[in-house]
Amino acid sequence: MKGLLIKDFKLMKNQKNFLFVIFIGAIASMLLSGFSSFLMGYFPFICSFFVLSTISYDEFDNGNAFLYTLPFSRKTYVKEKYLFGFLAGTAGCIISLIITVLYRYFTHTGFSLTELLVPAAAVLMILIIILSFMLPIHLKFGGEKGRYALFGIFLFLVLFGGIGLQFFPLEVLGEFLHALKPAGFLSLLAVFTFVFTFISYRISVLIQERKEF
């Protein structure tokens, strides 16, 4: 597991210029717009979704065949991808938090810890949910085809989800979420994140164990 994590962080190093440009761009947007949450809603996702690129890097030049001769199981590979996405996302969250705190401090806009940490925790969990949705697709279809598959699934969800929403009591859901206090909302989100990630992980393991290289 540790070796795989090192590999992916070393691969991430290749994208350091890209990440730096994104980071600077996000900070510039934050300074220009005065919208201090911008970085938090943007940068952690970029960091975390890099895990999808590592799947493409692993596939490059038939690299998977050799990779899977190294001493780890297919289950460990899948586990590592989820962990890497989580760690990269957490790192993105922490960096964004620090920058946001510094921004608020220097612009004297003031902040409370709850005000910052609740959105950060929510961002992290939403990020994990989206990642858990994307990882099995990327593992199944590969980096290149995975993008098309994802596009197809999004299209499907937008089309049929839109139709479905017409019959869904959105007001009731809105009232329910509104009635929840931050702690309640975060707890509910945490439970959903855990269940969704667990199901996603099991599907990913099944996909990976059936692959031939």
Partner: protein, 282 residues
Amino acid sequence: MLKVENLKKQYGSFTLDCSLEVMPGCITGLVGRNGAGKSTTFKAILGLISTDSGSISIFGKDIKDFTETDKQKIGVVLSNSGFSGYLTINDILPILASLYPLFDQAAFLEYCNRFQLPLDKKIQKFSTGMKAKLKLIAAITHDASLLLLDEPTAGLDVVARDELLTLLRDFMEEKEDRAVLISSHISTDLESLCDDLYLIGNGKILLHEDTDRLLSQYAILKVDNRQFQKLDPRYLLKWKQEAYGYRCLTDQKQFYLENYPDIVVEKSGIDDLILFNKEVSL
């Protein structure tokens, strides 16, 4: 050390049906033409593909029950796959150190230095020879008991091939119970290196022989039609009609040398076996 029994794998019209064994202390060669089933055999042994039937055991343990610790005792080279080209040697050092508890970093770096492999250059920018050397160095520097080497010398010039074969010989001399399964297109590499050889063709093992016996007892007999009629066929493995008469493969060179002094007897090698297999089924 490695035992493959009645391994079967169907790929469209191609069927792999093979059994082979690698004994401790031995270097065993797997030879055959392109598409004969060498790489499929390696992939099956490494668990990279599923198999239809048969069993594969390494160190007496079925590969289906293999753990990460078991895999640490194996070193692998695949001709068409290696470390990610986006990494450098400096990047893969901590990866290997984490994956293999017995990884000898000092030896690894010494080999890199000896073969002038740059530590901070992306592997995708390496030449074919440099990549091949890196793969073999990584396979032999974590105290593996078994090496599985699929075409490790493919695309290399004679000097680079000799360097790699020397590395392998040194690796075998360090510990006497180590073993190697190696495939190659270059028969001279295998003739000088292997203790025994398996010839594979159309997914089937056609021949298994000690290299010494293959080189000393196997021969090509070139005879005209009249000589062929008088030839004792008991020790002829295969024969093929040629413009001058017949070209025959035997595994009893001495018998024909002594009893038929007037016929042409030529030294045979792995290439002749492959060529005979191409022309006439062994």
